[in-house]
Amino acid sequence: MPNTYNLIATSIVGSGGAASMDFTIIPATYTDLLVKISARSADSGTDIAIQFNGSTSTVYKITRLYGTGSGTPTSNNNASATSLINNMVTQPSYTASTFGNGEIYITNYASSNAKSVSIDGVTENNATASFATFTAGLWSPATQAAITSIKLISDGGNFAQHSTAYLYGISNS
């Protein structure tokens, strides 16, 4: 049976925290990429910003859908973003020992087309402030390129110790 769901790299935040979790060497040998995240902020903020290949220009598009546990769900978008962004990080004001969880699925990451991304995130913490967020993302630089690095940035300072991100490669053959 082929082994097609492979762990490529792991990022685990140590004591003192970290501003980002980075995957800097991604081979082009898979079909899709999947990042599994468990994250808490040491400072503030509940979002993760996602950037590919060091690209920080306004070549990202996002459409988000989220609910907070009360009221009507919300949808918003940004057609000229400098990163993909999704809520999946708990912060110090949230219940202790709770970590947000998220999944980033990148289809055909080595193709010559723009890169489509499906992102899910939750910050359940047995309190009134919690989010469930779905995001459609797109990275479309002027010159299309295979994704060779991924940077996950805590939008409110540092990731707390014990935050983790696992990068998997999925092959279709």
């Binding site: 082929p2 769901y5 762990l7 996002i62 459409t63 859908l65 609910g67 918003n76 779905f134 053959s173």
Partner: protein, 165 residues
């Protein structure tokens, strides 16, 4: 989701010519199935899904979706296929629709079949969908359709099998 050898690529279809449907019909021996698609067409359209060529009114779905300004719910009951997207549709401009379909216990012979779908196109919207086929037969074929259009050349469809043990 289990790692390693329990997540097996069963088959991939990359269209060399435009066609209206793509069928998977060889996927025995797994517990769950996952389908990943990147598709394009000639215009805006939704992707339908049926099982075992059943075109009866035996499907339903519930959806939550956002288009960038409005979040809505929608439900369809007793319909002839599962609509696998809403605002996260495909179109004639790009391959930017990314869709992931999870079909649980597809070969179980005592329960109706449920699937979870995430469909995304950043320019138009994002969808989370649950679909149901009211039939206890094992799923032996899956047909993905472009409805009134054709899937374009270069569209990709991959099915994976997940084994519980």
């Amino acid at each position: 989701m289990a790692a390693g050898s329990t997540y097996t690529p069963i088959s991939t279809t990359t269209l060399g010519s435009a066609q209206n449907t793509v069928v998977f019909n060889s996927f025995s021996g797994y517990t769950d199935l996952v389908i990943v698609t990147n598709v394009k067409s000639t215009s805006t359209e939704n992707m339908s899904m049926i099982f075992n060529s059943d075109t009866g009114s035996n499907y339903s779905r519930t959806i939550i979706t956002g288009n960038g300004s409005t979040a809505t719910n929608d439900r369809q009951t007793s319909v002839t296929s599962i609509g696998t997207d809403y605002n996260g549709y495909f179109d004639g401009i790009d391959f930017n629709q990314a869709k992931i379909i999870q079909i649980m216990n597809y070969s179980n012979s005592t329960k109706y079949k449920t699937c979870l779908i995430r469909s995304n196109r950043a320019q138009s919207g994002t969808d989370a969908i649950v679909g149901l086929w009211r039939n206890t037969n094992a799923i032996t074929s899956i047909t993905l359709g472009a409805n009134s259009l054709n899937f374009a050349v270069g569209s990709t469809f991959t099915i994976y099998g997940i084994v519980a043990a």
